[in-house]
């Protein structure tokens, strides 16, 4: 029998060679790099500026790295920057924001996930009407409802208080979160729900023991959406709370807009980064789950 290798002729053989520097790759990575740089530059400028002293900033080279690194602006932003007459820095307001964000994120996610579950799996009477109203709610501009809510909170005695703001955040998170959870739960196989019913699990049994354990991705998405949304909120914070209960974003605005003496750019930059740190770190910790959850929730409408 003839040696099989003699049957191979010259020409392509085996895996197709790939070039790392093909035109396509250069275009692709070039574009990605460009966009990345575009978005990274402002962050770079902020960090660099926050580490410089004021004299160095006045020299005007905003892109150059600090000649003398100082953390004083950070300390000042956190501890002693003035918001109006009050010179306590952001620290007190940071805790306000935590006290607002944590309960409203938890409450809104618990309520919305149960809503979404009921809408997806238990076709109760009026479910469609309820859902339509919710979706409609997602498209109403917040500004329309500002003043009516002020009156409502005042009547309930919650105006100017943290709890009032928590309630408002919880309610306004409802439409989008319910939609998110409903879509996720509809994308889960219906037979799982049926099997659990045959196994004698009730409304809460199915929710807690069958669906919840397989819903980590969508809960991550909800947490990220709500933490960023509520932490970054300025409008509701400034309208529904008093000076003692202002969230961090309002305090940041007051620091930046304070018009006494010189504008301390380094302190402003440090304060802004400090304020943005919470949502930013959440992204870094759970970014992968976020992408997965977004995809999972979007499959079925």
């Amino acid at each position: 029998m003839a040696d099989t290798s003699t049957r191979l002729l010259d020409g392509p053989r085996g895996p197709k060679p790939k070039s790392n520097f093909s035109r396509r790759n250069i275009m692709l990575y070039g574009t990605l790099l460009l966009v990345a740089v575009y978005y990274a530059i402002p962050l770079y400028v902020m960090i660099v500026t926050s580490l410089k002293g004021l004299p160095e900033i006045r020299m005007g080279n905003i892109f150059s790295p600090p000649m003398e690194v100082t953390f004083e602006p950070w300390a000042k932003a956190w501890g002693s920057a003035c918001t109006g007459l009050n010179c306590e820095g952001l620290s007190a307001y940071f805790w306000n924001s935590v006290k607002i964000t944590v309960p409203s994120v938890i409450a809104s996610i618990i309520i919305a996930s149960v809503n979404g579950y009921a809408l997806a799996n238990w076709r109760f009477k009026g479910a469609n009407v309820f859902f339509t109203i919710l979706i409609f709610g997602a498209f109403i501009p917040y500004q329309v409802m500002l003043y009516p809510i002020v009156i409502m909170l005042r009547e309930m005695g919650l105006y100017g208080d943290l709890s009032g703001l928590i309630i408002v955040h919880t309610i306004f998170g409802m439409p989008i979160l319910t939609l998110l959870f409903r879509n996720y739960f509809t994308s889960l196989p219906e037979e799982l729900f049926k099997a659990a019913r045959v196994d004698g699990a009730g409304f809460w049994g199915i929710y807690f023991r069958v669906l919840l354990p397989m819903s980590l991705p969508i809960f991550t998405v909800a947490v990220i959406l709500q933490v960023t949304g509520i932490w970054n909120d300025f409008l509701f914070g400034v309208v529904y709370t008093g000076p003692d209960a202002y969230p961090m974003t309002v305090a940041l605005n007051n620091i930046v807009n304070t018009t006494q003496g010189v504008t301390e750019y380094n302190v402003n930059m440090a304060a802004t980064i400090l304020t943005a740190l919470v949502p930013l770190s959440i992204y870094f910790v759970s970014g992968k789950l976020f992408v997965r959850g977004i995809a999972a929730g979007a499959v079925k409408g």
Partner: protein
């Protein structure tokens, strides 16, 4: 069948989704220990009927009895049923043991009892080594065993299967089919099995209910369904390759079509049916005789072969009988080529006659 014996009794069942009638005045009695297969093409309402029996769908009208209890309004878990789904529907975050015991825990059964039932089910299904695994770490066949086990531990009177083998490959499907049949003879429960696969239906069923458009077209033993289909739909649906149909007329106990006459001696007419007029004859490909078998034929004819499909065990040939296209199942070793003339023979006793108007058997 008297009602005392029946395990499931469905009486005048209606189901509507909005204006769409899925099930119309359906009546069905299933005997204790019977293996009933609901067979039909997709959209015929067979799965819907099963979901109604399980209590997963609210019926629009009518009643459902399981045992001698009216369960029309009962929750699925109160009906004494176990159900196996096509997609297995195992709880992904629980181990196999967790999956098996979930229903028992919901019923607040004692730990010792749960343990005993789970180990019994695991033993019957030979899944003991898998008890600590998660469903993701199981193969398709193992998953379906666990799904059957979940029904088994409930000690249910009635097992409901919703196309349980459709997601498996051909080999595994055949294996599990045999296992389900063994399980039935071992347990003796009533089983209702939904499928669109006629081989599953023929092999498993004590009786088959063929459904179309939310109604039962024929409810009979596999043997009767195959040999004496009640109407054209059933005749066409059962059998692969399907039955040949030729239009013609009945006169003087003979079937006459263009260029073809078949004496109908030995054919058993349905009770009270007419013996003359327009008719359709149905001939199964395997009941058309060729070669050595021709000796037992009552009538013969010649057909011209147009296409040959060898399948190993047998060969399907497509041929023209005059201008009527027919297909014939021949022995696998027969040597025929397109263009050949083959002599074929008919057995009137195994033929089927239908009324072209009502489509019912004559």
């Amino acid at each position: 069948m008297t009602l005392v014996e029946s395990s499931i009794s469905i009486r005048d069942l209606d189901l509507r989704f909005g204006n769409v009638e899925v099930l119309k005045g359906l009546n069905l009695d299933i005997g204790v220990g019977e293996f009933l297969v609901l067979l039909g093409s997709s959209g015929c309402g067979k799965s819907t009927l099963l979901n109604c029996i399980a209590g997963l769908l609210d019926v629009s009208d009518g009643q459902i009895y399981i045992g001698d209890k009216n369960v029309t309004w009962a929750e699925p878990s109160e009906r004494g049923i176990g159900m196996v789904f096509q997609s297995y529907a195992l709880y992904p975050q629980m181990t196999v043991e967790g999956n098996l015991s979930f229903g028992l825990k919901n019923a607040r059964m004692s730990k010792a009892e749960i343990k005993q039932r789970v180990s019994r089910a695991a033993e019957i299904l030979q899944i003991e080594p898998l008890l600590d695994r998660k469903p993701a770490a199981l193969s398709g066949g193992q998953r379906q065993r666990v799904a059957i086990g979940r029904a088994l531990v409930r000690d249910a009177e009635v097992f409901l299967f919703d196309e349980p083998l459709s997601n498996l490959d051909a080999k595994l499907r055949a294996d599990l089919r045999v296992e389900i049949k063994k399980l039935h003879s071992r347990l003796g429960n009533t089983m209702v099995y939904v499928t669109h696969d006629q081989i599953e239906a023929m092999t498993l069923a004590d009786r088959i209910a063929i459904m179309k458009g939310g109604q039962i077209m024929q409810l009979a033993s596999p043997n009767e369904i195959y040999n004496r289909p009640k109407n054209l739909y059933v005749a066409e649906f059962i059998g692969s390759p399907s039955m040949n149909f030729i239009k013609g007329t009945l006169e003087d106990n003979r079937f006459v079509a263009e260029g073809l006459t078949i004496p109908m001696e030995g054919y058993t007419f349905a009770e009270g049916s007419r013996r003359s007029g327009a008719a359709i004859i149905g001939l199964r490909p395997e009941h058309i005789l060729t070669g050595d078998n021709l000796a037992s034929a009552v009538a013969r004819a010649e057909a011209k072969v147009s296409l040959v499909e060898p399948m190993g065990s047998d060969t399907i040939i497509y041929a023209n009988l005059g201008q009527h296209p027919i297909h014939i199942r021949m022995d696998g070793q027969a040597s025929v080529a397109p263009g050949d003339m083959v002599e074929i023979g008919f057995q009137p006793a195994r033929a089927n006659l239908f009324d072209p108007q009502s489509e019912n058997r004559l």
